[in-house]
């Protein structure tokens, strides 16, 4: 009895040490993972002379408001912000609509040529988009879409990944009986989609929406190529210009980077639980 108690005690002790070590490692990792955000805020609240001083100032300063005002005076930040919001929201709505409609159709109906069409869709996911950066730009120039948001929105308004994702979700979650019942009641295809599929697909729509929004918000190379008019700049392009021109005014550039990052952090934290679970599951399904 006494021996077994001692063994139990030593095992419990052993597990506790393990748990403490584990959490120390994880907390260290968390600190490294979050430090650049902390540092961004520190720099955004300081003067450039503080940032360039030694020893470095590691706590928040009081210059945030001044830095933000400088950003607003230096570039058309509000314009870039609304441009980005407009592009990202439009693209998100279009992607969610077109991909869920196509994914639902692929998941629940049979029609001639369905399988080859789906294989084509999967193959297109493997083509790197940068390969055709030059001809795509020439095409946009011919269409008269240079410096137009159409060039950012239209090519990406329905994606292979989105359709694939929606098909996977719809095939397991939309009940076939409901579709049949809808059919008997005389529903056409689009009414079946709207009244039966959409309500069930809501969690998948939320994920695809957040995913698309984040990508559209952060997109850089293509907007950099296509937007030549400063009035049409998106946030990322404007931020990169700010960094290029005012590279000595660190505090201001950091305030700009902070302002451009905050909306995304908010959206992510609102939907994080759902989003994180889905992104890993989605990756493994591919």
């Amino acid at each position: 009895m006494i021996v077994s108690k001692m063994v139990k005690k030593s095992i419990r002790w052993h597990i506790q040490i393990k748990s403490v070590v584990l959490h120390i490692i994880l907390l260290l990792g968390t600190a490294i993972s979050l430090f650049p955000f902390y540092w961004l805020i520190v720099m955004a609240t300081r003067k450039s002379s503080d940032i360039f001083s030694y020893p470095p100032k590691l706590v928040f300063g009081s210059q945030l408001w001044e830095n933000i005002v400088h950003v607003w005076l230096a570039i058309n930040f509000f314009g870039a912000f609304t441009n980005t919001l407009l592009v990202a929201c439009t693209e998100t709505v279009l992607v969610v609509f077109f991909c869920s409609l196509a994914g639902f159709t692929f998941a629940k109906f049979t029609f001639r040529g369905k399988n080859p069409l789906f294989v084509i869709l999967l193959v297109t996911m493997m083509i790197p988009s940068q390969l055709s950066a030059v001809p795509s730009f020439v095409l946009m120039a011919r269409l008269g879409w240079v410096s137009s948001f159409k060039a950012l929105i239209v090519p990406g308004m329905v994606t292979a990944f989105g359709i694939f994702w929606m098909r996977q979700y719809a095939s397991s979650s939309v009940p076939g009986e409901l579709i049949d019942a809808g059919r008997i009641d005389g529903c056409g295809h689009f009414r079946l989609y709207w009244h039966i599929a959409l309500p069930v697909l809501r969690p998948a729509l939320a994920f695809l929406g957040i995913f698309t929004f984040i990508h559209a918000w952060n997109d850089y190379m293509w907007p950099l190529i296509i937007l030549n008019d400063p009035a049409k700049y998106t946030l990322q392009v404007a931020l990169s210009q700010l960094n290029g021109i005012y590279s000595t005014d660190y505090g201001m550039v950091m305030a700009g980077a902070l302002l451009a990052t905050i909306p995304l952090l908010i959206i992510f934290l609102l939907g994080s639980r759902h989003f994180i679970a889905n992104i890993a599951a989605g990756a493994l399904k591919e």
């Binding site: 109906f109 083509i127 001809p135």
Partner: protein, 321 residues
């Protein structure tokens, strides 16, 4: 064709369809019913034809031309490709891209597997907090990230150099040194993709049956043995997936060097990646034909390394089975 091959599947005569349609295939399409179905999937294929397929074909055409984007095109045959193969800057950009990829992804994939293993431990409290904390970098924009890291790695007053000074070590001119530049770029890739990959590995870990772990524990296996003998081998398909996707994205690195170092890739062009070179040639120097040719070179390199990856990661698995 051998005699034993199964008979070809015949299209059923039209009157045979009716009982099947009643029995179960209620969603089977007739020509009239199929129209809305094709309309539903059409947008993707139409857009892909215009903005995917056409540029691809046009890219092939362009790569046989010399063109600045404004004047008239001039057919130059294979000249752009022969020039590409002898262009020292292009080869340097391939080497740079690979070096950055290795520096970033080998530590990143290793650490993320270990991190996933730690996070999956039943001892972990507040797991969702850690998941968010490690995933947060992945949604940060690359432009903001490059700006933040430019201050960490700054030659004179960067935080890393301040740390080196505190430790009484000599400062390093990170953003002028050939390896310093690559380490800075690799650090960004590492930081941004670690949590994302750890999450993918965690999902992979959840697919491993817990019976195996319990059996190993009963047999007295240590954590390290369990990790090496059970977790790693069963995680192989997920590892293959992450290696291939991180290779494809690693071959396309653009924003980090462009924002951190500019269109020329910094001192000694040490941060010049393949896609940055394409951008510089096409959109800073207006060599549209050459830019298109670089695009095909890029495609060849990505295809080659994806294949190589696949062979390397696949092979040990075959020995075991």
């Amino acid at each position: 064709m051998s005699i034993m091959s199964p008979p070809p599947i015949m299209e059923p005569p039209s009157d045979a369809v009716i009982p099947i349609a009643i029995a179960g295939a209620r969603r089977h399409s007739t020509a009239r019913h199929a129209i809305p179905l094709y309309l539903s999937i059409a947008p993707f294929y139409i857009l892909f034809a215009i903005f995917g397929l056409f540029p691809l074909a046009f890219s092939l055409y362009l790569s046989f031309q010399k063109w600045d984007g404004i004047g008239t095109m001039q057919f130059v045959g294979l000249h752009q490709f022969t020039y590409l193969l002898t262009d020292a800057y292009f080869w340097q950009s391939i080497v740079n891209t690979l070096e950055i990829w290795l520096l970033a992804n080998i530590p990143m994939l290793t650490v993320s597997v270990v991190l996933a293993f730690l996070l999956a431990s039943p001892l972990v409290k507040l797991r969702s907090f850690y998941r968010i904390a490690f995933f947060l970098p992945h949604i940060t924009s690359l432009v903001a990230l490059a700006i933040i890291f430019s201050s960490l790695f700054s030659n004179q007053f960067g935080l890393l150099n301040a740390l080196l000074t505190v430790l009484r070590l000599p400062r390093i001119a990170w953003l002028s040194d050939p390896w310093g530049i690559k380490i800075a770029l690799a650090a960004m890739i590492f930081w941004r993709s670690l949590g994302y990959h750890a999450l993918i590995f965690m999902a992979g870990l959840q697919n491993i049956p817990s019976v195996l772990y319990e059996a190993a524990q009963i047999d007295g296996a240590t954590s390290r043995q369990i990790f090496a003998r059970i977790t790693l081998p069963l995680l192989r398909p997920v590892i293959l997936f992450t290696v291939i996707t991180s290779t494809i994205s690693g071959m396309q690195v653009f924003t980090e060097p462009q924002v951190l170092l500019g269109n020329d890739g910094g001192p000694g062009r040490q941060g010049m990646t393949m896609v940055l070179y394409l951008y510089q040639q096409a959109f800073a120097n207006y060599q549209f034909g050459y830019g298109a040719a670089i695009g095909w070179g890029l495609f060849a390199v990505i295809a080659l390394f994806s294949l190589l990856n696949w062979i390397v990661v696949q092979r040990p698995g075959k020995h075991q089975s």
